[in-house]
């Protein structure tokens, strides 16, 4: 009689068949799953710095400038237009804010809310930001507007990727 600690023939066969079957199924499914999750495993390529505007045109009042960026979307390459709110702060430093609302991604505008003419305003849900991009407490956004990576070269402002403040 088999000892109760011993593995019975039936159990042994069950374990081996499950093991071998699992190994084969994994060999089949692993490439497919890795293939499917590729978008989260890929490193972002980063964005080149693009000339946006001459430094002299930048005022203390935020102005909206658009610029074109090469975008590689899988097999589809295209030129997309991005926008930035650019101004000089009190110290004369250039600030370039992304117009994308941190609440749910609508586009913010400068001074379009009549009761808050010196703030960024998002028309979708009434989100507001102060001039430096800080979100106003009590409005929907929970974070300040993203800031573009910037560089001034030969009197021109170059902008790169927008990053969280």
């Amino acid at each position: 009689m088999a000892n109760k600690d011993e593995v019975s023939r039936r159990q042994f066969l069950n374990y081996t068949l499950t093991g071998v079957g699992g190994f084969m199924a994994a060999g089949m499914l692993l490439p497919m799953v890795r293939f499917a999750i590729d978008p989260i495993m890929k490193q972002g390529a980063g964005q080149d710095m693009v000339a946006v505007v001459e430094e002299g045109k930048i005022t203390e009042e935020p102005q909206r400038f658009t610029f074109k960026v090469n975008q590689k979307d899988g097999w589809y390459e295209s030129e997309v237009t991005q926008a930035a709110w650019v101004f000089k702060d009190k110290n004369g430093d250039i600030v370039a804010l992304s117009p994308i609302c941190k609440h749910l991604g609508c586009t913010v505008d400068w001074g379009t809310d009549p009761s808050h003419p010196n703030q960024f305003y998002c028309p979708c849900h009434g989100g507001r930001y102060t001039k430096d991009g800080t979100n106003v407490k009590g409005t929907p956004p929970l974070a300040p507007l993203d800031v573009y990576k910037k560089e001034v070269k030969d009197g021109k402002l170059y902008l790169g990727q927008a990053e969280p403040q």
């Binding site: 499914l29 692993l30 490439p31 497919m32 890795r34 293939f35 499917a36 590729d38 097999w75 589809y76």
Partner: protein, 224 residues
Amino acid sequence: MLQKMYDWVDERLDITPMWRDIADHEVPEHVNPAHHFSAFVYCFGGLTFFITVIQILSGMFLTMYYVPDIINAYESVHYLQNEVAFGVIVRGMHHWGASLVIVMMFLHTLRVFFQGAYKKPRELNWVVGVLIFGVMLGLGFTGYLLPWDMKALFATKVGLEIAQTVPVIGPAMKALLAGDAHIIGAQTLTRFFAIHVFFLPGALLGLMGAHFIMIRKQGISGPL
């Protein structure tokens, strides 16, 4: 843990008889390669099914990247093959599996033919098997066009010309397949994609279901 989860469901839904009915049946000695090695010829039907499962799975994953459009089809195939991790393998599985499934199906057909397993009372199952054969060839034909390279285009041209040679309804058949009486282009590609991904697999699953229900009902034909 697993046993407990199973018991919990089984207690409420009584699932044991369901899978027992599907999975728990004796394999007759004459079809078991462990008894007679020559019985491996009985494996070809199961292998056809196994490869079909791989084809369905790999195909599902391929559609995550593929677009059936004349501008982007080739580009998207090139992208998924060269830039997506394991793209070569997943597309390779689908590509080689397509040929292999037809080889296996052909061997299965030969076995049934030479053993006379199609004879009464299994004639209907032979008929369904022949329909499956046709659907598989259709899947191969429509899938061939999808990468939208030169080989695909000219193979499809030839295939459609052959369809056109059918008396009376030939030209109509060609136009129906290609989506246009003369052009092999945008509409052909979307049509072939729809046929390849929705219509034929649907037909295939239905026919395979009938094939399997019949063989379970009638049993495998006796020893020679």
